[in-house]
Symmetry: C2
Subunit: 217 residues, 2 copies
DNA sequence: GTCTATAACTCGATAGAC
DNA sequence: GTCTATCGAGTTATAGAC
């Protein structure tokens, strides 16, 4: 509750976005939740969208350091999956992930949000990408995977999961259990050193789906 | 342009959602785009949200058959990835994916949207899940992966990618190339029959990240 | 089924007092 | 830096003519 009016407005904006969504995040709703006159939004941030941009920036910078510290000690994909699961849980519980999802959706209506979100998102995704790059160096997968894109795909997954959680709440545990299984599998295969990388590279070069092949049976 | 007024409204709602987002999808905007009086929304659908619910239902049922037909001949994970990539491309280009993302975001503000979206989403996700189930039967991964959750994760990824595309448009090709690499890798490993499933099952039982182990180097 | 007109309300944003 | 008061435009939704 404490803090400057400016901080209270940012906090109220985030809470309103997370709980009631973009459409319900009006100047009046934010001011009411902050216990502050809505007109102060325009004094401190020029516009309502300006407040939302600052909200995104504030949350991102607040989290970037946490990401760095958590990812630094990671030494395997399984560990990375465990850390990612923990981070997701925090971002979900705190509402940060919902805020991001709502702002992303709103950026289609308010294009000035898009550029700000893009910078902020990269800040966090790059932490994941560099961690992946470090883990895969000297492994059989080195150079085979575009770590930036993997990080992007994982981040996209988190955002999508958050939105799906809106309509069918709760069973994210089963989903993350499955993701843990997958990463444990990849780890095990990497440890065993049995990846036929030459075969994979050949398939990738040919582009299309697998050549004449009998399937998985 | 043709079709009944009802159909024109549904089409106009979808287009407006995809291009301008939830916040800009007002009765006036939809009516204007449909070339129809906005009051007709309330005659045909009772409310604006009612129109959005019908829009979701219409798009989903229209696509369910396509999914079934495309997924039926799939015989490997690589093929599945290729089909998924094609379906994603269609849903993105047609705007269906953007519509889904916007409705999901809007369902936080309009809870009555959530239940409708939940049913519709399951319809498509179940197609993917049953395909996965079929592919993995008799493979080394049978029973190890929760195919419902994998389908859910992949669907979530698509939705997230769509939202990220709003703020940094365009480079989805690199992302899907990376996903193709991953599936090719999994296929190759499955074909080689070198998955140490016993090891994986043991790790999963213990729960935590990998036991004493030197990492990937 | 489709239209006009409008009620009742909320929106973002500003002017100006303090 | 914070407030009140308000403008002008937009919103959903309805009543009633045709």
């Amino acid at each position: 509750m404490a803090g400057s009016t400016r901080d209270r407005l940012i906090d109220a904006a985030a809470r309103t976005l997370a709980e009631h969504g973009m459409a319900a995040t009006s100047a009046r709703a934010i001011g009411s939740r902050a216990g502050v006159n809505p007109a102060l939004i325009y004094y401190h941030f020029d516009s309502l969208v300006g407040l939302l941009v600052e909200t995104s920036r504030h949350l991102t910078q607040q989290r970037a350091l946490t990401y760095q510290q958590r990812l630094a000690p990671v030494r395997s994909l399984s560990e990375l999956a465990a850390v990612a699961r923990g981070l997701h849980q925090e971002e979900h519980a705190s509402g940060n992930l919902s805020v991001l999802a709502q702002l992303l959706a709103g950026s289609r209506t308010h294009p000035e949000l898009a550029t700000a979100l893009n910078d902020n998102f990269d800040l966090l995704a790059n932490e994941v990408a560099s961690t992946l790059e470090r883990l895969l160096t000297d492994s059989a997968l080195a150079g085979l995977l575009d770590t930036d894109q993997v990080a992007r795909a994982v981040s996209a997954g988190f955002i999508g999961i958050e939105l799906l959680d809106t309509i069918s709440a709760g069973d994210d545990a089963a989903l993350f259990d499955t993701l843990d299984t997958i990463t444990a599998l990849v780890d095990a295969v990497l440890d065993a050193g049995t990846i036929p990388t030459a075969l994979i590279r050949r398939r990738i070069r040919t582009g299309g789906p697998t050549s004449p092949q009998v399937g998985l049976g």
